[in-house]
Symmetry: D2
Subunit: 357 residues, 4 copies
């Protein structure tokens, strides 16, 4: 849960957050972390799992869509999601070289959980995304194992998710500082109804001088250079969940707005920064078996229908990224050099002074 607001009095944007300011404010969404640290081996990495709902993910699929902002990354499952507009698996985040292991572990977990003799599962489309934590983690040790992935999946819950150096966030850095996992949420109004929209971000991008908070270029003025600036890129994965009854095309539009949230934190979409967004809606579960129906009801989807949802995506993305930085703790990398946490008091002073001016 984003603690920017609660712990640090830092509000992002104008929208109202949900009760936990977390992606789990969307009913049914579950998050699990498995943190992998073995200091002697230079290992600091992990796995974060997001379950789109609490039922049979295979037989009750959800509308989903992805946006590839800069495609220098390895997210799996995109072609099928694009073709069918559906997600049928958990979403697993981990380090770059752990994607295959995670894919395989999700397959095993799905078979164990949902396979039935009378309706066997013969095809699964696991969604695995990654950021590269090799600045801190000895990535070539390939420490992520099947049981780590299963632990993250099995441990998933709808409680407010931990942030910072947990799960896939364990070894991440952003804007030269220790990063991790961050999350935030917003309420969205549509007609008479109120919906929830939540974001979970794994920011691992950004040059030190670019960090921007509420428009203040704190990266330009933070006292002392950070320990390990990144000359280029990095990457970020952002998941967007909502109970707005959106179809895949609409979710694609939501996912694309993640780019605006990233830009607000100072990101410039560097060439080496793999930037991926995935959005899904929990409002409609799509049965696995063909019932012969086709949609009957006209969506009333004028161009502006989703503007409040777009703004929610932008603000929740911005807040989740910053929350990952604020929640992270100093971490020593595999080469023995420390990566410091964001100096929160200095940052808050810079932001506050600017705003008070």
């Amino acid at each position: 849960m984003s603690r920017l607001r609660k712990d640090h009095g830092l509000c992002i944007g104008s929208g109202a957050p949900g009760p936990a300011n977390c992606i789990t404010d969307v009913p049914g969404v579950q998050v699990g972390h498995e943190t992998i640290v073995a200091e002697d081996d230079g290992v600091c990495t992990g796995v974060t799992a997001v379950l789109p709902h609490d039922g049979d993910l295979y037989r009750e699929k959800l509308p989903a869509a992805a946006a590839v902002i800069n495609g220098y990354g390895k997210m799996t499952g995109l072609a099928q999601i694009h073709e069918l507009g559906l997600i049928e698996s958990p979403i697993v985040l981990t380090n770059t070289l752990g994607v295959g292991t995670a894919w395989d572990a999700v397959t095993g977990w799905m078979l164990e959980r949902f396979d039935r003799p009378e309706d066997p599962i013969l095809s699964i489309n696991p969604v695995v995304a990654e950021c590269n934590d090799s600045q801190l983690n000895h990535i070539r040790a390939r420490a992520v194992d099947e049981h780590h992935v299963r632990a993250a999946l099995d441990g998933a819950s709808s409680d407010p998710a931990a942030e910072g150096c947990v799960g896939a966030g364990t070894g991440m850095t952003a804007f030269g500082w220790k990063s991790g996992v961050g999350t935030a949420s917003r309420f969205v109004r549509r007609g008479e109804n109120r919906y929830a929209l939540g974001v979970l971000a794994l920011p691992n991008f950004g040059r030190a001088d670019q960090l921007t908070i509420r428009g203040v270029p704190v990266g330009e003025t933070l006292p002392g250079p950070c320990a390990r600036g990144r000359s280029t890129g990095g990457s970020i994965v952002v998941l967007v969940a909502t109970d707005l009854p959106c179809d895949a095309r609409q979710l694609s539009r939501l996912a694309r707005r993640v780019a605006v949230g990233i830009a607000r934190t100072g990101g410039t979409c560097d060439g080496t920064s793999g930037e991926f967004a995935l959005a899904f809606s929990t409002a409609k579960r799509v049965p696995h078996k063909d019932t012969g129906d086709l949609p009957r009801q006209a969506p009333n989807d004028v161009a502006e229908a989703l503007d409040d949802a777009f703004l929610a995506v932008v603000e929740a993305t911005e807040e989740a990224i910053l929350s990952a930085l604020f929640a992270a703790t100093p971490t020593v990398g595999h080469d023995g050099r420390p990566c410091p946490a964001l100096p929160r008091p200095s940052v808050l002073a810079l932001v506050g002074a600017s705003r008070a001016a």
Copy 2:
């Protein structure tokens, strides 16, 4: 209406055609042709208009999607259709240099028909597509005028559409023979229901030796070389209408299957052949004004849900292309050289002999 079957006993595929074997078998769809011939000036071109339904096209939009098979062409309106999944205008086909005129004429026609003082139309997304008829038509004369476009729009009706050398088809050639406009339709079953799916094609592509009819490579063996073979390319526009209640993502899948229908006639998607497909569904009219609703009902859209519709697209596309060739009549080009019509008896003999074997 496709007369292949009725006039020539030539059946394409296994699906049952609609009553008129025409795109107008989809209730509400209207077709209008304006043929422009001025022999002294080398002008043989025209305009074909398709109205997606018979109501206020602007305030009752339809789900739609396009597929760009080979993008060497000038179809307008695609970005907005892709973003919103909706069409809000007639579709106009004409020659390559007439696109701007047609765009402008559609705008004027829409304003005249649908503009209201209390709800003015400030933005329109005309859909205009083209094929290049410069082999026969003196295209640089730019003979298409606003009143031609309006005549096609005003003349649109739900009667079975004329085929061959009419409207936009007036100057087209395909596989070295005179081509034109062609159309066909199929019934589609989905669950308990039966729907209509219609195609209108403007084929202007294909090398003489490639023409294939029901698998028989008639182009290889037709007696005597055709008058003006095309060394490369050409182009084709295919419109797909259906009353299946499809959303834009599903229509995108329908539109992409047009490529299979083209391939069945011998086309190889040459680099200079602009090949565009557009599909729309008349089942749901989407209001122009925001009512605050979002879709509530889960579509039951398993991967195979649309297979019958896909097959209908393939077969109706194949039949519409061939029907354009069978309906066309010999035409003298702007350079005085004639373009012959397909020698139907020889063709039917070749196809029949092969099948009888």
Copy 3:
């Protein structure tokens, strides 16, 4: 030419601008404006033409690519640009209902300029983009005529381009203030070489409270509400020119970074805001006739190769948008209500105070 820096001391980003801080800093690029004002008829609109180079645009094509950030707009020519990776025409910007006229006028102008009896032009792919100026302009009067478009084309020159209420910018508004045309440029280093990258923007988007300048949310605090806030959207077209020897895939990556520049000014990519970017490279002219060659040289295009160019796109886009606002002058709309210009002293005070803090 962007006068933000020269006239107002307002620097955007860290990159060095070109000599004129204008898209014409890229050698060969030419800009022409035709302003159309007829107060009695409520007409304030216009046409802006950008010529990618000063030669035969048809027979010497340039690598090009577009990015559709939010596709609620009517830009023509995109399918062919995407397929062939080439632009072969001027780029014309005008109001939404003038696209057809502009398309037709470009066709006529191209034929007049470049058609040759021995090598006739039978196909042209005009690139026309639009923003909707109906807040100020009586758009349904459809005031844009062929001769306006030709005047913009014929008047194009490589001199520093005028900004503000000229050409297509005449009737545009952004963030509740009068907008117009803006431009800016940056130098880009790549290996040992220095290249130019220029941007021309037509901003017509943004809610009043969103305007952000150098991170300062001036829109939240500007004294007095602006005359006509926009409840939603709008649109923006951004052209990017460079003499970096990029191919179409690389230009696509450049064009996508325009979104970051827009986000920096406060834009949130509203649903009704058609946001289009087009990038082209003047480094390589591609012959019209097939010479039988294929590219021989391996591009050395590692992921980070274009990072300086990406940053240049971001900064020049941000500056061009703001420059359009700073250069614009108050304008009375067709309904008699004025649209004020940005109160520059107040804005500068807000930005300066924030930065001084």
Copy 4:
């Protein structure tokens, strides 16, 4: 190597095949198969690996592009290939549930082969594609192990590749008959030069009644129904290699023409048929490290420049699919029921009779 022509006198199309009529006719391309059969466990599956060249795949990347014809499949690596236009790994084909294992095994193999202390590999983009062999193979046994993948990779050679029931083809079926791996090649002329273009196909699609060979609908008339028809879909992966000096955009155009080759065999692109094509060019190896260069030379890529290559893709795809069927041998499935091989004499008689007529 395609033995259709040599062993059965069946020629596909008009183009001349390369010396081995195999994807390995493209210099440097290597193919390796690992067949996995354990009858007692119902296991008949495997792995096929294609190495794009014989050097350091990571530090000498190749231009590449994919086409997703119907995205109901799990091909990995597509986003990065699309963004950078490069492939940096082997391509591995296996069964649907083996993708994660194959991804992981490729990562390990790449690290072992190409990692260097002074230039460590921290990120790899493995390309793994699949078809679903669960009709014959007990897919949920997840029999594919890391050592199988390594065996296929280590065994890759530039010798003519085995076809039929080997490697990933071991458990595949198509058009109701036993399928497998197939390959074919064509020479392509461009200007003064001759290039090689090779295809490797893994066909696992098609309804029994659809099978078409050289236009003859043999599937409609084959004596006796096949053992296990497929009510719907299936899938197919097609790899296209060439030494034509194409860039990624051009390769994307090549990859898209695979759909025409599939259509020629009777495929209708069913909804459950994941159909993916990947094309790469061996002509230019792109260095891993930035040298500061950008491409200097203008490609002469008029629209028709690639038409011969397109035709080669179409014909080689068609031939590779049929060759997989002709080379396959009867196989007993995990349920004890046999899947017969195509009755070659009957098929040849049908094709010959038709052609002789």
